[in-house]
Amino acid sequence: METHGYFLDHLWMIPLFPAAGALLMFLFGRRLKNAVVSTICVGSVIISFIFAVAAVMSLLAMPAEHRFVEIVLFDWVPAGAMHMTNGALMRFDVPWGVMLDPLNAVMVLVVTGVGMLIHIYSVGYMGHEGGYYRFFGYLNLFMFSMLTLILANNMLLMFVGWEGVGLCSYLLIGFYFLKKSASDAGKKAFVVNRIGDGGFLLGLFLILGTLGTINFHEIGPAIAAGHFPIGAPVMTAIALLLFVGATGKSAQIPLYVWLPDAMEGPTPVSALIHAATMVTAGVYMVTRLNAIFQLSPIAMDVVAIVGATTAIFAASMALVQNDIKRVLAYSTISQLGYMFLGLGVGAFTAGVFHLMTHAFFKALLFLGSGSVIHAMSGEQDMRKMGALFSKIPTTARTFIVATVAIAGIPPLAGFFSKDAILGAAYERSPILWIVGWVTAGMTAFYMFRLVNMTFFGKSRVDHEVEHHIHESPLLMTAPLLVLAVLSIVGGWIGWPESLWGSDHFAHFLSPVIAHYGEEGASVAEKASRGALTMEYLLMLASVLIAATGIALAWRWYISEQERPGKFAARFSGAYRLLEHKYYVDEIYDALFVNRTKDLGTALGSFDRGVIDGAGVNGVGLVTRIISRISMWWDKWIVDGLVNVAARFVGVLSYPTRILQTGKVSGYALMIVAGLIALLGYYLHLVRLPVH
């Protein structure tokens, strides 16, 4: 095996550090002190991060076109021979292996980096909570699963990580499992994700049957060898099935409903799993398999339309939420929709770029909201906040940085990534661009609504809570500061060429994006060749609408606070629709949940009536009848014979029995009588000579 230097050769160790941490917590966590737990669990992620950074540095040192390392550890599923759908026979072996290329290099840095910061933050945030070791054990297990998902060199191993993160998500959403809403939310997330997982699995099987391999680096050559034309139906089927998996994990329409409820989990969990890492797994998976998606224009259109629809749909719901974390949850769904919009229009690098910048600022927003909630003694309702800026200055400042970043104000991170997506969307279809553009305005509005309601204006805080407001400890604010810096500079590596930058990020990722001739060339590249004026106009438009959103939020929530109420009253129908989240949960309940319950009830009555009634109870009844007969036979025939014999003996014994009177004198008389009889007999025999 050729070597690539220590860290690339030991790539497989990156997920193992958190795995070891999780195992230790599982075995000994209960007995360890909190300080030891933090050291082990945070330490393991820090080591992972160091290994990841070193490995990516080694990867960067390689020539751009050869940046691919694969390490197969062992043969995992040696299933043997199988037939492909075209009849050819092939060997189906799945190795347990890891790989590193530019795409998952980005992912692994984001996951370990942001993950590390959130672990550190959690030490402060969870310090007073029960189940400290359980929390960190789950977090480490999540890191292991997520890193397995990212580093896997084949789809089956990726699926292991995919399921692992789903499990950890379930465990951590339901962390406060004594609270019914939390455990329900965990279950909801798990069940909704299962639907997506089904799509993922079917897609996996179809890839295996069609291409004969599920190893990522063999999929591209297999497609080339198979001569699939663009628009091949089987590729469309695979892409759509995989996208179903992506909608589940990445909370897109129609499977997004679990993510808002997932806010029941502790805030660091929301930041790590439900904003920065796990929910981006779908984006990563689509990008990883872009060779397949690009062969299917229909699937690409579906991805783009679902992404755009989700973006604007979720953003509209975020406009009226009053729970600080729920605003961020809908914002996350909306931003994930942006990423899929980018992927769908062929701007894979832009989608991943937004994934990265979003990880920075959304993790910061969630951690900041956690810090606010911490300061507010657990209050999450923004209507009971206000004027917190001076009381928790570090949190507020970093939070505002992230808000400006997500609103898309240059030169912060969000601007570059959002603009790259919007530019590509415009190339594809102006309608998609308009949807994205309006969403950008709504994003700016609801984010500044959140900031204004929380940090500015008049204080609406309860008196008792007001005394306890305090800035969070350094353990919590330090990650906020690091993330704030990343939210500012994180976009600069993708500084577009039109603004005299060099877009390192797109060039770095381009080797993992498939290119199919001229007509299939990624739209992002076409965009870069498009008219520069148009691009400037688009940028100007998105900055303008962001500014409009900010200004509107300022006017409504700072200077003329009676406005929102009046507006809501005038459009009460629309307001109620948004407040009830378009009644999607209710519709799902009516269409699917209750129908499933009905099916369960029907099956239950079938079970009780037919299986239990006719089957089990019938057999029971027959057995009882047989045993009744058997008992009658036993009682009257078998026992009867015994009794007859006994009675016979009893009757026979009657004459002798009456002799036994129990009277001693009677016996004595008998003895005497017997004696006399014997004596008489004896005398009669001997016939003594008579003198």
Binding site: Q660, T661, G662, V664, S665, A668, V672
Partner: protein, 100 residues
Amino acid sequence: MLSITHYLVLSLALFTIGVIGVVTRRNVIIILMSIELILNAVNINLVAFSRLFGSVEGQVFAIFIITDAAAEAAVGLGIIIAFFRNRETVLADEMDLLKW
């Protein structure tokens, strides 16, 4: 001169009295005393025949029987006391548990 017949007649009389006593009396203590009479009837026989045949074995046997009678009386009275403690009676016709 007393012949052997006189002794045998006495012995027979005692024996008969004893047997009638055992069969007819209800009190267990009297029954025990009647048994003593029977035993002593036997003793008279033994001693009489010992004298008649000029042999000493009969007298030895008689002494054995006296010893035996003493032991029997002791055991018998012990049983009667134990029984009395349980049933508060010494009447033989009330001792009728051993029947079917």
